[in-house]
C-alpha cells in the first residue's frame, strides 16, 4: 500500500514539473497538490482500498493534466482534467460507502461532489473547439476558467479547489488516527486486565470529556449497565452524542455517550473505540458481571433483612397471640380453682395449670430463640448479658458498643448466639471471651474460645470440607459457622476463623473475628 502511494505521489509530482517552466511557483504548487492527494490516500488507508484507490486516481489525473498543460497536448490534458473532476464528483458515493452518516459530513460531501460535477461538465464542454474558442476570445477571465492550467493563477485556484476534497478526507482520517492513538496510548498504560471504570476513565481523559460514559448492553435483555455495574437507561437527548461502539452487526452492544456541546465527531470516536475494542469487551463482561454480582448481593441482603423482619414479627405474634391467650387461660383456671372445692376437680385444675406453665415456658423459649425481646427494649449489651446467663458455654463479655442500628444489633446478637451455641455443641466445657468493639462505620466482634477438653473443640470445630478441598484449614469457617458467616457477609461484613495452640497444653483455641458495617 505504502509503495503504491509513494509511486503515485512521485508520478504526480514529476508530472507537474513542466509547469515550472510556465512559472516556478506554479510547478511547486501543482506538485504540492499531487502530493496532497497521495498523502490523503495514505492517511485513509484504514477506510478501505476503494477510498485509497479513488484518491490515488485523482492524484494521477491531476499530475497528467498538469503535464499536458504545457499546451502541447491540450485535448488529452483537458480530458484528464475533466476526468479528475468527474472522479472528485464521486466523493459522496465514496464517503457514503461507510454506512450511516455518523458525523453529519454527508451534506459537505454532497456539495463538494456537486461542485466538482459542475466543473467537470464545463471542462468537458471546453474540450469542444467552438466552446474553447468562444471562451478564449470573448472573455478576460479566461485565465481563471477551469481547464488545463494556462497560468500560475489558474493552477493556484484550480489546485486549491481540487485539493479541498482530499484534504477533507485526509483531515477526517487524521483526526480518527489521532483519537485512536491517544486512546490506545492510554489503554497501553492500563493494567493487564483493565476494569470497566478504568477504561471509562481512559476514554474520559483521551476525549477531554469528564462526562463521557460507556454503557454495556445486558446479554439477553434490553437494559444497559454503566461502567460501575449499575443498571442504567441510556441518556437520550439532552445534547449528548451517542456513539455505538460494538462489533459490526451488533453496534449497540457497547455505547459511548459524550457531551454533544464539545463538538466531537462520531467517526473519530468510533475509530478510537475500535482501537480499544478488546479492552471494551473485557470491561463489558466485567460491568455485566459486577451488575449481576450486585443483584445477587442485594437480593442476599434483602433475604437476610426479610428473615429478620419475619423473626421480629413472629416473636411479636407469639407474644400478642398465643402467649396472651395462654395467660388469659391461666387466670381463668385460677378463678375456676378459687370456686372449686371437690378434690378431684382441684387435682385436675392443678394438673392443667402445670401443663399450661410448661407450655408458657416453652413458648417463652421459642420466642426468645426467634427474637429476644430484650434486644429491642434494652439493646445489644443487655441481650448478650442475658445470653451469657443461659448458655452452656462460660461466656465472658467485654466491651459495650452502645446503641446501634436495630438490624446491626440483631445480626450481632445472632452471630454471637450461634457461635456460642456452636461452641456449646462442639466442646461443652469451653470458655469463650467475647469482645465487642464499635468503631466508626463498623461493629467488630471477636470470640476467643478455649476448650476445656484437649482436642475436643479443635478437631470437631474444624472445617472438614476445607480439609477435603486441601485448603488452609486454619482460616476457612467450619460448617457450623458457615451460616453465621453467610449472614454476616450478606450484610456487607465478614467473618474469619483461625485456630491456635494454647501454650503448654494440648488445647487449641479457636478465634472467630467478624465485623458488621453500621452507621
Amino acid at each position: 500500500m505504502l509503495a503504491a502511494v509513494v509511486a503515485v505521489a512521485v508520478v504526480a509530482v514529476v508530472c507537474c514539473w513542466p509547469l515550472a517552466r510556465l512559472h516556478p511557483l506554479a510547478g511547486v504548487w501543482a506538485a504540492a497538490v499531487g502530493a496532497a492527494f497521495a498523502g490523503a490516500a495514505w492517511l485513509c488507508a484504514d477506510l478501505g482500498r476503494g477510498v485509497v484507490g479513488w484518491l490515488l486516481a485523482c492524484a494521477l489525473l491531476w499530475g497528467v493534466s498538469a503535464a499536458g498543460a504545457l499546451g502541447a497536448a491540450m485535448v488529452p490534458a483537458g480530458a484528464c482534467w475533466a476526468a479528475l473532476w468527474l472522479l472528485l464528483a464521486a466523493a459522496p458515493v465514496v464517503a457514503g460507502r461507510r454506512g450511516p452518516d455518523p458525523d453529519g459530513a454527508r451534506p459537505v460531501w454532497l456539495a463538494a461532489g456537486g461542485a466538482a460535477l459542475a466543473v467537470a461538465v464545463i471542462s468537458l464542454a471546453i474540450l469542444v473547439p467552438d466552446a474553447r474558442n468562444w471562451v478564449e476570445t470573448t472573455s478576460d477571465w479566461a485565465m481563471w476558467w477551469p481547464g488545463p492550467a494556462r497560468s500560475p493563477w489558474s493552477v493556484a485556484v484550480q489546485g486549491a479547489a481540487a485539493v479541498a476534497v482530499p484534504a477533507a478526507a485526509g483531515l477526517r482520517a487524521w483526526r480518527r488516527r489521532w483519537a485512536r492513538a491517544s486512546v490506545a496510548g492510554l489503554l497501553a498504560g492500563l493494567p493487564a486486565v483493565p476494569t470497566a471504570e478504568g477504561v471509562q476513565q481512559a476514554l474520559r481523559t483521551a476525549l477531554g470529556d469528564p462526562t463521557a460514559a460507556v454503557y454495556y448492553r445486558l446479554p439477553g435483555a434490553q437494559g444497559f449497565v454503566s461502567s460501575d455495574g449499575y443498571q442504567a437507561v441510556l441518556p437520550g437527548g439532552g445534547g449528548r452524542l451517542v456513539v455505538p461502539a460494538g462489533r459490526p452487526g451488533d453496534e449497540n452492544s457497547v455505547v459511548l455517550t459524550v457531551d454533544g456541546s464539545l463538538g466531537l465527531d462520531a467517526a473519530p470516536l468510533q475509530a478510537a473505540l475500535v482501537a480499544c475494542r478488546p479492552a471494551l469487551e473485557n470491561a463489558g463482561l466485567q460491568a455485566v458481571l459486577s451488575s449481576r454480582l450486585r443483584e445477587v448481593r442485594e437480593s442476599r441482603a434483602r433475604i437476610v433483612h426479610t428473615a429478620i423482619d419475619e423473626r421480629r414479627r413472629l416473636a411479636r405474634d407469639l407474644h400478642d397471640g398465643a402467649q396472651q391467650h395462654l395467660l388469659v387461660l391461666l387466670t381463668r383456671l385460677g378463678i375456676a380453682r378459687q370456686n372449686t372445692t371437690g378434690p378431684q376437680s382441684l387435682e385436675a385444675i392443678d394438673a392443667a395449670r402445670d401443663q399450661l406453665r410448661v407450655a408458657l415456658g416453652k413458648l417463652r423459649g421459642l420466642s426468645r430463640d426467634i427474637y429476644p425481646s430484650v434486644l429491642d427494649a434494652e439493646g445489644l449489651t443487655a441481650a448478650l448479658e442475658s445470653l451469657a446467663d443461659s448458655g452452656q458455654v462460660d461466656v465472658e463479655l467485654a466491651g459495650h458498643p452502645g446503641k446501634l442500628d436495630p438490624e446491626v444489633e440483631i445480626i450481632a446478637y445472632l452471630t454471637v448466639r450461634d457461635i456460642v451455641d456452636g461452641l456449646g455443641r462442639q466442646a461443652p466445657a469451653s470458655h469463650a471471651r467475647i469482645s465487642l468493639l464499635s468503631v466508626p462505620g463498623r461493629l467488630a466482634i471477636q470470640v476467643r474460645a478455649t476448650p476445656a477438653v484437649a482436642g475436643k473443640a479443635v478437631e470437631s470445630a474444624r472445617g472438614s470440607a476445607a480439609e477435603a478441598a486441601g485448603q488452609d484449614r486454619s482460616t476457612v469457617p467450619p460448617a457450623w459457622l458457615a451460616i453465621v458467616a453467610d449472614r454476616i457477609r450478606a450484610n456487607g461484613g465478614d467473618l474469619s476463623v483461625r485456630f491456635e495452640p494454647v501454650p503448654a497444653t494440648e488445647l487449641e483455641a479457636v478465634w472467630v473475628e467478624a465485623w458488621i458495617p453500621c452507621g
Partner: protein, 224 residues
C-alpha cells in the same frame, strides 16, 4: 396473706382486656380492690392522677412499640410519687434487665413473671409487700442470677441454709419474712445473713431494701 389486712386498691395496666378481666376476676375474692383498669401507659397516668391506688400492676410491653413502655411509665410515676407501689409484669424472663430496674428504684417495686399471677395468694402477698414499700423480685429471675456461672462458684462456698437465705434476700424479703418462710427463729436467720455477708464480702446494711439492692448488685456484677 392478703385477707384480714386493709383492703388494697390496685390499678391494672395491660393492653389485653381479656388478661385484665382474668386478673381482676382472680383478685376479686381476695379483698384486693381493682379500682381501675387501663390499656396504655398514658391512660394509666390519667387514672392514677385521678384516683391514687396503693399499687399499679403494670405490663412491660404495651403499645405503641411493645418494648419497654411499662418501664418508662414506671420511671415517670415513681418520679412523681416515689411511694407509689408498682408491680411490673413481664412476659419474658430477662434476668439482666429485671435486675437493672432495681438500680433505679429503691422502694415499693416488684418485678414478676406474668405466669406468676395464677398463684393468687402469693400475688396478693407480693402486692401488700410492694404497697408497704418493699422490693419484690420474681424467684425465677433470682434463680437466673444465682445460676450465673461466676455466681455458682462463689455461692458454692455457702451452706444450703445460707444459700436459701441468700435467695430469699434477693427476692426482697426482710429477716422477719425469711424467718417466717423458712420456719426458723429470727436470731438464726440473722446469723445466717451475717455469714452470707461475710463470706460474699458484702457491706452489711441495716435497711432491708438497701440489703436487697446490695445483694442484687453483687449478683449482677460480672467479671470483666
Amino acid at each position: 396473706m392478703g385477707r384480714g389486712m386493709d383492703p388494697l386498691r390496685v390499678i391494672l395496666v395491660d393492653d389485653s382486656a381479656l388478661f385484665r378481666q382474668g386478673l381482676a376476676g382472680l383478685l376479686a375474692p381476695t379483698g384486693v380492690e381493682v379500682s381501675a383498669q387501663a390499656a396504655t401507659a398514658d391512660e394509666a397516668a390519667v387514672r392514677i392522677a385521678a384516683d391514687r391506688p396503693d399499687v399499679v400492676i403494670m405490663d412491660i410491653r404495651m403499645p405503641p412499640t411493645y418494648t419497654d413502655e411499662g418501664l418508662q411509665a414506671t420511671a415517670q410515676l415513681k418520679k412523681a410519687d416515689p411511694d407509689l407501689g408498682v408491680v411490673l409484669l413481664s412476659a419474658h424472663v430477662e434476668v439482666a434487665s429485671a435486675a437493672r430496674v432495681f438500680e433505679e428504684h429503691d422502694r415499693g417495686l416488684g418485678y414478676l413473671l406474668k405466669d406468676r399471677v395464677d398463684n393468687v395468694d402469693a400475688l396478693v402477698r407480693d402486692l401488700h409487700r410492694v404497697a408497704a414499700g418493699e422490693l419484690v423480685l420474681d424467684p425465677e429471675v433470682v434463680q437466673g442470677l444465682l445460676g450465673r456461672r461466676r455466681n455458682v462458684e462463689l455461692i458454692a462456698q455457702l451452706t444450703d441454709r445460707e444459700q436459701d437465705v441468700l435467695r430469699h434476700m434477693a427476692e426482697g424479703r426482710s429477716n422477719q419474712r425469711i424467718a417466717a418462710a423458712m420456719m426458723l427463729a429470727p436470731k438464726t436467720v440473722e446469723s445466717h445473713v451475717a455469714a452470707v455477708f461475710t463470706k460474699l464480702g458484702l457491706p452489711p446494711s441495716a435497711d432491708d431494701n438497701r440489703r436487697v439492692l446490695a445483694v442484687l448488685a453483687w449478683l449482677r456484677t460480672r467479671a470483666q
